[in-house]
Point group: C2
Chain length 125, copies 2
């Protein structure tokens, strides 16, 4: 079973955690999305209890498989871990944009992620 996505399957098995339908489903959606998603975004596409969702998210974070951050709509957003980048959150339209090629370093600090709040180009009057 779960033959339909070898890549996701491998992602899970490599961490020595159990391969379940719920886990495959969450990771598949995050992979396809190519942008951060919240529980509300994800639940549209899968039937899974929210407790299961959040418990799996917690496990994925612990295993360093995903990143999360909070937007200004009070929800947490999740994405598969990939090359480091910042997130821009527009306070007008609430859109989230990935900002690559941003270079932030602080001596002696280890940086996990960067969130920038402001007004995006589309929302400038």
């Amino acid at each position: 079973m779960y033959e339909h996505n070898t890549k996701i399957k491998k992602l899970i098995k490599d961490k020595n955690i159990k391969l379940t339908t719920a886990r495959v489903a969450i990771l598949e959606i995050l992979e396809k999305a190519k942008k951060p998603l919240s529980y509300e975004d994800i639940k549209v596409d899968i039937s899974m209890d929210k407790a299961t969702f959040y418990r799996n998210i917690a496990k994925f974070e612990k295993e360093d498989m995903i990143n999360s951050f909070e937007s200004n709509d009070k929800k947490r957003y999740f994405e598969l871990k990939k090359e480091p980048h910042a997130h821009f959150i527009c306070m007008e339209c609430n859109s989230i944009q990935c900002i690559k090629n941003i270079d932030i370093t602080l001596p002696n600090y280890e940086i996990y992620n960067v969130t920038i709040n402001g007004k995006c180009p589309d929302c400038q009057i």
Copy 2:
């Protein structure tokens, strides 16, 4: 009344909003703190209903008098508006540190504030 803090008083009157005990109290505490505070931090020093607190915070934000951001303890933190700077939030000890002298610009974006999550120097093993 409220003669004890002319600066805060002026801050409020300049915005043409009513000068109330609650408003003066909140702004005085934020001014003295010199670092971002949450409702929980602030309520220790003043007796004020949380509804009043949050309604005034909403008004202050609308009037562009304060900044706010969310930490990873799920609470919102508030500070008086001053020169732009970033906030570093340590995921280990939950401390919040103001980072000045950081230069982040994105062409066509208007930046309100920047939050950096990671591990602070004290929490590196």
